[in-house]
């Protein structure tokens, strides 16, 4: 009972805080700086993308390397090279429905990535959409179909290329003498705010992060499912052998 009251009290407190945030006089400090100067300094219409990939670019590199480390660990733990069985997949209706949906999902994901500097979204979100598409294919068509269409090696290559591309774009700023991951100061064209070709290196960094996150999450899911099916298949064959005996 006391816990419930505590929860309600904290909820009420949060509610008041949310209501207070709509007041413009609470936009102070860094928030005010970003709102005033982002369009002029980076050329990005999406302030969040500008903060993620320009002002705090090295934090984003850290997040991307967290995902990279996770993928490496999972792929190392679950590294069985061969597997015998594949999941059967779902019914005909589910297969037709998903194959109708997949092109639209791919279009949605690439829109989120490519328009990340103008509209909400960016590399992480679009990459997660791509990973969801491969998971859908894996569940609906069976895992051997997904492996035959998109080889695990290709995914790992895409992920590593994304990471390398990100660091390379950071190195361009270093070469220009403006610091690691510098955007307009390193000579990337700023463009017109709101145009598709604007905001310097931010769209390129979005593409790099999208490659990384999409291939990485897909690799995690795929290697887990593969090993689970392997173990399940071995158990099944053991059970069948026992039955025969």
């Amino acid at each position: 009972m006391g816990l419930l009251l505590l929860c309600l009290g904290i909820g009420w407190w949060l509610w008041k805080g949310v209501a207070a945030m709509e007041d413009p006089e609470f936009i102070i400090g860094p928030a005010a700086y970003y709102i005033i100067n982002t369009a002029e300094e980076t050329g990005a219409a999406n302030i969040v993308a500008a903060i993620l990939f320009d002002y705090r670019g090295i934090d984003t590199l850290g997040e991307a390397s967290v995902i990279y480390t996770t993928v490496c660990g999972v792929a190392m733990l679950f590294s069985k090279s061969k597997y015998k069985r594949s999941s059967a997949g779902l019914s005909f209706i589910a297969r037709r429905g998903v194959s109708f949906l997949v092109p639209f999902l791919l279009l949605y994901g690439s829109t989120i990535i490519l328009m990340g500097h103008m509209t909400p979204g960016g590399g992480f979100q679009g990459g997660a959409v791509f990973a969801t598409v491969t998971i859908l294919l894996c569940i609906v068509f069976g895992s051997s179909f997904e492996m035959s269409r998109i080889k695990p090696k290709t995914k790992e290559t895409i992920e590593s290329l994304g990471g390398l591309f990100f660091v390379f774009l950071g190195g361009v700023g270093l070469l220009a003498g403006a610091g690691f991951l510098a955007n307009t100061a390193a000579g990337f064209p700023r463009g017109q705010v709101g145009n598709f070709l604007s905001a310097g290196a931010i769209p390129l960094l979005n593409i790099a992060v999208g490659m990384k996150v999409g291939a990485g999450l897909s690799t995690i899911f795929y290697s887990m499912v593969r090993v689970l099916e392997l173990e399940f298949g071995e158990q099944m064959s053991e059970v069948e052998g026992n039955d025969k005996n």
């Binding site: 909400p120 979100q125 959409v129 887990m224």
Partner: protein, 90 residues
């Protein structure tokens, strides 16, 4: 808009309660998925569409599928007993 926000918040608390208290794991997973979608709506209302996109894709897509894969690999004593009962009945 405030009424809608309050409705979503109350429903959010309800789904979180169901996810933590439900005895069947599958109900808890589905409830968590609904929780993620509602959370994305809350983020949109609070004018954070970037976070809302991440929340919608990750929580209702990736996390749910991970949980379902994990669930499909665990032993389910209740379901097994039920199946045996049905088999005995036939």
């Amino acid at each position: 808009m405030t009424a809608f926000f309050a409705f979503v918040c109350v429903f959010l608390a309800l789904t979180a309660l169901v996810a933590s208290e439900a005895e069947e794991v599958l109900s808890a997973v589905i409830s968590l998925s609904v929780f993620g979608v509602l959370m994305a709506m809350v983020f949109v209302i609070l004018q954070a569409p970037d976070v809302a996109l991440t929340q919608a894709v990750i929580n209702s897509g990736l996390v749910t599928s991970f949980f379902l894969v994990a669930y499909s690999q665990t032993q389910k004593p209740n379901l097994l007993e039920q199946k045996q009962d049905i088999g005995d009945g036939q």
